[in-house]
Amino acid sequence: MAHDQSSTHSETRRQLQMARSMCWHCQSEMSGEYFCERCVKVQPVSKDTDYFTCLGFPRRLTLDPKKLEAKFYELSRAFHPDFYQTKSPTEQTISLGNAAVLNTAYRTLRDPIQRAEYLLALEAGSVKDIRTSPPADLFEEILELQDTLDQYRASDHDSDEGHRLRAMLQGEQQTLERRREEMESQLQQLFTDWDELQDRGEATSQARAERDRILKHMRDLLSNRTYVNNIVNDLAATIA
């Protein structure tokens, strides 16, 4: 099976890491995933282990939530501090750290948006940047909305004018929610594109260009969606 460059790179690094790492307890070479095969002691999740690897999933954007949950429960049973109360202090510390990593990993991968943002950070090395100005196609609309919002905030909410503005804002909220849904379905399409590309596993320059296109488009969409999402939340809070 072939991988694209960056994923192959991290895979190799991970394998090296595994081969090099030794059990903290019996010093034997580690081959098991989280438990030493010789002395059965729990091993700390490596700092370089990404959340997909931690939960035993490939870097795909469509994950079966049931399988993810089952894996999370399985690993929780393996790591949770409740089951280490009678063990040594070192094992207790490892269990606590591992459980915390596992919880973060599950929380991140469970949510499709957070999952995509995380993958983007892994693949393109970017941290999610939240836009501070509206996306171009929404520029006019958002400016108008801000005006209406200001007017509503200044108005007597029980007056006719207040009611009229509120109705307008409710309309706007619905429009923006639809807009958010559109972006989410576009994202969904990109997720599928990404997964298919990964599954094909071609190492051609065409595949690399396709990979870059998906990642860039995804980044723009995620950033626009976050922007719209914040506006919707703010709007909902104002007229609630």
Binding site: Y73, S76, D82, F83, T86, R107
Partner: protein, 605 residues
Amino acid sequence: MARIVGIDLGTTNSLIAYMKDDQPCVVPDRHGRTMVPSVVALTDNGLIVGDSAREHLTRNPERTVYSVKRFMGKGLVDVQSELAYFPYHLSETGGVIRIRLGPKNYSPPQISAMILKELKRRAEAHLGESLTKAVITVPAYFNDSQRQATKDAGLIAGLEVLRIINEPTAASLAYGLQEKTQGTIAVYDFGGGTFDISILKLKDGIFEVLATNGDTHLGGDDLDRVLVDLFVEEIRDQRGIDIGSYPDHMQAIRLEAERAKIRLSDELKTEITIELPEDKGRFTRELTRDQLESLVVRIIECTLAPCRIALKDAGLTPNDIDEVVLVGGSTRMPLVRQRVEALFGKVPHCHLNPDEVVALGAAVQADILSGGTTDMLLLDVTPLSLGIETMGGVMSSLIRRNTTIPASAKEMFTTYVDGQTGVDIHILQGERELVKDNRSLARFRLKVPPLPAGVPRIEVTFLIDANGILNVTAKDMRTGQSQSIEVKPSYGLSDTEVERMIEDSFKFAAEDVSARKLIEARLDADALVKTTEKSLAEAGHLASTEEVNGIRTALALLSTAKDGTDARLIRARMADLEQAAKHLNVVMLDDSLKKSLHGKKVSDV
């Protein structure tokens, strides 16, 4: 591994439970009572706890502490609005409330430790072994300071607190074990002083908390106060008496209000009787359930908003909830049940005793920790967002509320000025934007090597452990050196203070034991005096004058001993009296036998 017990340290009552043949059970006292009133009284004979202390609420209100849980992890300013309701004197030192009992001041963890010790003693007597490890429950919505204060109380009581667990989740463990519940459940826990709602998913032995919310200052106490306020006002208007200035009568009113509220869960109306001060007679009135409900409906509705937020945070609607479980004494009120049913659209259930279910769950968790069972696992969440103060007095969230614990977040810190040697960090908990609207948890100073601005890189890890308690560690990324951090709690005892309290507690343990022995000896002596006097009155004529005189002398000697402080002397005098009255008792027994046989035919015997 040594036995671990489960403790429900409640606002009104506390219980201790353990696992017996795979089933949790609550430890009863000699009379079969499972609840220990969370009341501590300072009497002339020393500190007493529980039922006997409860009697001092009206006799000795200034020296009898109740509802101490409301003060855990708090400063005086937090309870300012309700100071008038408490007859005992409160002050504050180092961000911690102090309660005056006689000549000394006690912190809330110390008072709670006395209750814990009483529970520990009771369980030790019941199980015939010494106990040193415990799981203690707290309201799910308790913040870090309140949890830490509970842990401190355990330490002071000589208990290693292996886990602090949330009351509603403890209840779900008990239900999961006994009812084999599966699916999504809502636990509505309305107790004496606190309210919690937790939404959980139960699947294959995993108890995953999806969201929790609540109010740590909302409970049965608040319902009682509405009634107290009403009665005080009526007594003033109708009888012209300012009863608020009589602490003992105020306590009597509070207890009467509580009793009336409880009665009205079963009855539609009840009679209120309050003795007035200075021989002014009695105040009586009828109170109907309707009247009670219209008075407290506003408070009960305060529990509904947290339920809605918890549902929203869990991403669920009421329809998604398979079962609603009721926990806590206040859920016995029909109005509470109606409102809960209306909100969730299903009949809530409470197959397990709502007073005992939390302690039972704590025993189940204790069993999990001791390796007794690996079938069940609780995945709980942190109830409040954790963050740090940033520029402009704004809180920056690091760990959001309802994050599964253990949870950790890392943050990198650097310097803004050349040669700066420290960075001050202020840790907060809460959901609001501004620092001033959130709860200050602690402050600490990060040590930084003097370098040009921006060069130092110190990584701080904020870790919320399985108890929901924060641990902070720091590492210099340039040198890889870890540094120890001295965190100064905003509303908690310092480590040195807790250590001193533990020492004090050991020092006074010997005194406590002798005080207890004295109290018990006196109680037993009282009982013996009473029965002997009764025997003398009923059967004195059957004994010789010499014998009667002997008994009277022994009685007098016992009375004198009872006024002293030597428990062994009291016991010795009791033995003397028993010896002196031995013959009389035999004679009495014969006499009563004769009487019962009198008039009966031999064939009937």
